[in-house]
């Protein structure tokens, strides 16, 4: 039984599943990384995801265009991000709690709109798998890495892009400065508010896209609360990844791979109570983090509102 776990089919299956499962986590977590790097904790990611998820689905369902759906998700995410930015930057609200408020708002709103505009569960034709000539044919690797749809590829391309922006551009420098020491950044002429608006809205957009990746790419369906806690896990993964895009990638992959592993464990009939199997990704994430004890510090200004008059 256990040995079956190590057959090639299974291993390929686990890896391919893991890559797919990680996609929404990646989008949302990278977006949250930007926010947190600039000093803002956004716990409302789940709400933004759900609204983006529904927006993408509804627009695709009614117009038949996947790209319009994606655009809708981006727009909705940006709007939620704008609201969050206003509440966080201008009104300096307590970030953890305002995030929960936005989560509830997004959860309820997506459900409400679904009931009023659609009424029953429907499906759409989502983004198809993209076939890359040559690469997709490599046995094993081709199946895992190069047989996915475009939003999946987008998530992984986002990682080096995010790393580049954060570490190699002036914008990234400003973001990090604002997150570490907003007063100093401010006195150097950086517009703290504008930077934070940017990162929060970007975070919102990416959360919206994460939602879209579920409803019009991976699952092709919408249902109330279908993200089921995904957004909160994504926020947790930012801490796991120590605010580095590559670390976040590692976290998302670890979590998703273990999840797909536990699916296989159950499918292969290995005698573990299903609840214990389902627990595995969460337990392992903590254990791995404990094992890799690091002295990484959070951005110093994380969760602290910026006040000019100091």
């Amino acid at each position: 039984m256990i040995t079956e776990l190590f057959s090639t089919t299974v291993l390929i299956g686990i890896l391919a599943s893991g890559i797919r499962l990680a996609t929404p986590y990646l989008y949302a977590a990278i977006g949250e990384t930007f926010s947190q790097k600039s000093g803002v904790l956004n716990l409302g990611v789940e709400g933004q995801m759900l609204l983006g998820c529904f927006a993408a689905f509804y627009v695709t369902f009614t117009t038949g265009s996947l790209w319009l759906g994606l655009l809708a998700a981006i727009a909705v995410g940006a709007l939620m991000g704008l609201a969050m930015a206003f509440v966080t930057v201008n009104l300096r609200a307590q970030q953890g709690i305002s995030g929960i408020g936005f989560y509830l708002f997004g959860l309820g709103m997506s459900d409400l709109l679904f009931q009023r505009l659609m009424g029953t569960v429907e499906t759409v034709q989502g983004f198809p798998k993209v076939y890359i000539p040559g690469l997709s044919e490599i046995p094993g690797i081709g199946e895992i890495f190069f047989n996915q749809n475009i939003l999946v590829y987008g998530a992984y391309l986002l990682v080096p892009l995010a790393w580049f922006v954060l570490n190699k551009t002036t914008l990234g420098l400003k973001i990090r400065a604002v997150g570490e020491n907003p007063d100093a950044a401010d006195s150097l002429g950086v517009n703290v508010a504008r930077v934070r608006y940017f990162t929060i809205i970007l975070g919102g957009i990416l959360s919206g896209v994460a939602g879209a990746s579920l409803s019009i790419a991976l699952l092709n369906v919408f249902q109330q609360n279908m993200t089921s806690g995904l957004g909160f896990i994504a926020v947790a993964l930012v801490y796991f990844g120590a605010w580095h895009p590559v670390g976040v990638l590692g976290g998302a992959l670890l979590f998703s791979m273990v999840n797909s592993l536990q699916l296989w464990v159950q499918v292969l009939g290995i005698q573990i109570p299903s609840d214990i199997a389902v627990m595995m990704p969460y337990v392992l994430t903590i254990l791995v983090l404990v094992a890799t004890v690091s002295r990484v510090r959070a951005p110093s200004a994380l969760t602290k509102p910026f006040e000019r008059d100091e």
Partner: protein, 377 residues
């Protein structure tokens, strides 16, 4: 940056905030005044009386209701039903099945004026549900339904306080010996068995996958019945079962389906509302799907073979006539293939071979007349 500029910016910023604050404060007071006024006006209008009930929501409004043969003499007053449900009324699964049944009865009894339905959905918190049940009972509803096994405790507590009201809950067979509690359940293992028989017949890879939420209650019954059906038809067929640990994680359910397919399954089944994702994956892989709780054909018309659909109205009709003749409870109903509480609905767009169809029909008949017994673990 020039210090003067800095100071100026700071001053402007400050002033803006102060002005905004003043405006906001005024607005807040104004809003407070308006809300307080309106609340007090309504309070004067006598608010604690029985509130205006909207009958069935607009989403599925029937046209001129057909007068089906009335099961019982037309009541003088409308029959009022309140139902508390753990998930949404359009979840294409458990809750929807009850809601659809109530709508059917409403149509049969002559529309919203004769049969009033009110509902509380998404009452997954037992506490809130209990408050709702108590509230409905105190408003004089004829029948209060707690559609969820987690509501039993609450009903046990509340029913004695309202001897004039009839309560019903499911899925269970426990009436606590109370004269005003009905219980209803579904022997979902029966439909599971039929699905299993068909699945074993149709599977060419001899591997079948099951996606379930948590190994409890209705889900467990269905899956156990399914496995029994497969085993009775072809013991060589492997059934892989995956309980994903949640009723709402669509992504995980869908990945579970993909995992099954990668493990070689060409027939899948599952239960509870999160399987909508799994059905999509089955369609992508051209695997067949067997559904339960409600008719899931619309999600994937090309691969859905059959669904076990709950028709709660069978039990409901009997309950209602019992209530109207003065008996408020004490009976447990079971939806079975025999009494029509469970119906196997086949997808007309799926071309089932004659042999397979005959096998299915004989299995159903066998369960109904008792010649087939389903042994559960």
């Amino acid at each position: 940056m020039a210090p003067g500029l800095f100071v100026m910016k700071k001053m402007l910023y400050e002033t803006k905030i102060v002005k905004m604050e003043k405006k906001m404060k005024k607005l807040a007071w104004l809003l407070t005044l308006i809300v307080v006024l309106s609340l007090s006006l309504s309070a004067c209008g006598g608010s604690t009386a029985a509130p205006e009930e909207a009958a069935a929501p607009e989403a599925t409004e029937e046209a001129a209701p057909e007068e089906a043969a009335a099961e019982e003499p037309a009541a003088m007053e409308p029959f009022r039903v309140a139902v508390v449900m753990p998930s949404a009324i359009n979840d294409l699964a458990f809750s929807q099945s009850m809601y659809d049944a109530l709508l059917l009865i409403q149509e049969e009894m002559g529309g919203p004026e004769m049969f009033e339905i009110v509902y509380s959905e998404n009452m997954f918190v037992v506490d809130d549900a209990a408050a709702a049940i108590r509230d409905y009972a105190s408003q004089g509803y004829d029948l209060v339904i707690g559609h969820g096994s987690q509501y039993g405790s609450s009903l046990q507590e509340i029913a004695p306080d309202f001897p004039e009201t009839s309560f019903a809950w499911g899925t269970t067979s426990e009436t606590f010996g109370q004269p005003n509690i009905f219980a209803y359940s579904a022997s979902s293992q029966q439909g599971g068995y039929v699905n299993g028989v068909l699945a074993a017949t149709l599977s060419q890879s001899a591997t079948i996958g099951v996606v379930g939420p948590i190994e409890v209650g209705d889900a467990k019954l269905y899956v156990d019945g399914f496995k029994a059906g497969v085993a009775a038809t072809n013991p060589a067929v492997t059934v892989n079962v995956n309980y994903i640990g949640s009723f709402s994680d669509v992504a995980l359910a869908s990945e579970a389906a993909t995992t099954h397919i990668s493990a070689g399954a060409d027939v899948l089944t599952g239960t509870a509302q999160m399987v909508v994702g799994a059905i999509g994956k089955a369609e992508e892989a051209n695997a067949l799907w067997f559904g339960t709780q409600s008719n899931q054909t619309s999600l994937a018309p090309s691969i859905v073979v059959a669904n076990q659909v709950y028709h709660w109205e069978v039990a409901l009709r009997e309950m209602i006539s019992m209530i109207q003749s003065g008996e408020l409870g004490g009976k447990a109903f079971d939806a079975t293939l025999a009494n029509g509480g469970e119906v196997m609905e086949f997808n007309p767009d799926y071309a089932l071979s004659d042999d397979a169809k005959a096998l299915a029909d004989s299995t159903i008949q066998g369960i109904i007349d008792g010649s087939i017994t389903i042994t559960l673990p």
